[in-house]
């Protein structure tokens, strides 16, 4: 036979296996390790090859086991892997680190491979992992909880130490929209009543807007127009801020706590412009 079957011993044919199952072995190509290595690293190409031959019965890859072994190419795959890694209800995606510990534990807990990770499988997994990392780096606006966070250097962090951005229970786009709306309303009404964490998160943005108005140039006005939803408020702000806050060096808001909300006992607060 003119092929090299690297993955054979690790995926023995199961009883009642479909003889027409996808063969992962490059049958037509001449026997060199490079071609088979290439084919193992591109699972998409392997899916397309469907030439069954009953003589090749040593190893048969089953579609389910192959799919389960490879991570995060489709959301359903990642859900299965996440469920395997940890008993969580939400789908879990791996952090951005490609440490060997992660790789081996990932492979060992998947249902497909029953043995320790061989070199070729791990190379296939790592190549796919690298592929999935580039895709998962794009920000998904969902409620997925990351198993590990990372800091700027790329180290894995399991805790929230030192992270000062209030998340307000929302993904980043909704959070920004909420804060934009709240600052617009505060600048319009002068005093609003909201929950205490939102009031505390707002302070930074209200102070930023007033600082832009204190500067007063056209560029700052356009920056303020890009943040505040109603443009007449921006123009009124730029008109009156120099008189009102000209001498005050910051701290343009005040938060007064008040009675909790009846429906959910949320701590409420008034935030007002000083």
């Amino acid at each position: 036979m003119g092929y090299v079957d690297i993955l054979g011993p690790y995926f023995p044919a199961q009883h009642g296996d479909n003889p027409n199952a996808i063969r992962f072995i490059a049958e037509a190509s001449p026997p060199n390790p490079h071609s088979s290595a290439r084919s193992t690293s591109s699972p998409m190409a392997a899916f397309a090859s469907t030439s069954p031959s009953p003589a090749i019965s040593a190893s048969t890859w089953r579609m389910e086991s192959l799919r389960a072994a490879l991570p995060a190419l489709r959301p359903s795959a990642s859900a299965a892997i996440g469920a395997g890694l940890r008993p969580r209800k939400q789908a879990v995606r791996l952090g951005a680190s490609a440490s060997p510990f992660l790789r081996s534990s990932f492979v060992s807990t998947s249902s497909a491979s029953s043995s320790a990770s061989p070199a070729s499988v791990s190379s296939a997994v790592s190549a796919s992992l690298a592929f999935s990392y580039t895709s998962s780096f794009s920000v998904e606006s969902s409620f997925e909880h990351r198993l590990f966070g990372t800091d700027v250097r790329g180290r894995i962090l399991a805790m929230r130490h030192g992270k000062r951005i209030p998340r307000l229970g929302r993904p980043a786009d909704q959070r920004k929209a909420l804060l934009r709306g709240l600052t617009t309303q505060l600048l319009k009404h002068g005093r609003i009543k909201t929950t205490k964490p939102r009031a505390k998160a707002m302070r930074k943005w209200v102070d930023k807007m007033i600082t832009l108005a204190k500067d007063g140039s056209l560029h700052k006005r356009r920056q303020a127009l890009g943040y505040i939803y109603e443009k007449h408020i921006v123009h009124a702000l730029f008109a009156e801020v120099p008189d009102r806050y000209g001498e005050r060096p910051g701290g343009y808001t005040r938060i007064i706590p008040t009675f909790p909300r009846r429906g959910d006992n949320a701590p409420m607060a008034y935030i007002e412009l000083v």
């Binding site: 319009k188 009404h189 005093r191 009543k193 008040t258 009675f259 007002e272």
Partner: protein, 176 residues
């Protein structure tokens, strides 16, 4: 932080309306069934009629009560500070505001924009004031509590309470 800060200071009532004072008389204000405490929220519809204001004090003392809005027309732009809502004079101690002489009739809160504070201030009079009838404040807006107190020799207040009120959204507005 267990240090207690007076809610009147936190709500900037002391400072913008009155000066720092020592409360000496107990005052209980209630709109119907709702008792007013510092900083509580009262709807304008509930506050349309004048409240029941009960005060302590000795029977032969006379007190003056007034109600103003320091956030008129808008808290971020209080150009009409303060807006006068009510003045009652010559209230005997230990009774309520109906026993006094109304100098400026009660007007309910009607905040156009934002959340307004409505402050009820109680002064102790030195003597029965008759000239309150002769010179009531001309206008409701541009009122000044401190100037009024010094004009009538009322001194520092003896009791202050304030509540918040906000314009109720009209119910028939069609939501897109």
């Amino acid at each position: 932080m267990s240090r207690f800060v007076d809610p009147l200071v936190v709500g900037r009532v002391i400072g913008e309306v009155v000066d720092l004072f020592v409360p000496s008389v107990a005052m209980a204000v209630s709109y119907g069934a709702k008792d007013v405490s510092n900083g509580c929220h009262v709807k304008p519809s509930m506050a349309a009629d004048q409240p029941l204001v009960r005060i302590s004090g000795r029977r032969n003392d006379l007190y003056t009560l007034l109600m103003t809005d320091p956030d008129a027309p808008s808290p971020s732009d209080p150009t009409m500070r303060e807006y006068l809502h009510w003045i009652v004079m010559n209230i005997p101690g230990g009774t309520d505001a109906t026993k006094g002489d109304v100098v400026v009739p009660y007007m309910g809160p009607q905040p156009p924009v934002g959340i307004h504070r409505y402050v009820l201030v109680l002064f102790e009079q030195k003597s029965r004031l008759v000239d309150g009838y002769a010179s009531p404040p001309a206008d409701r807006p541009y009122f000044n509590t401190r100037a009024f107190a010094s004009n009538h020799e009322l001194g520092l207040p003896v009791a202050v309470v304030y509540f918040n009120s906000q314009r109720e959204p009209s119910g028939n507005r069609r939501r897109r």
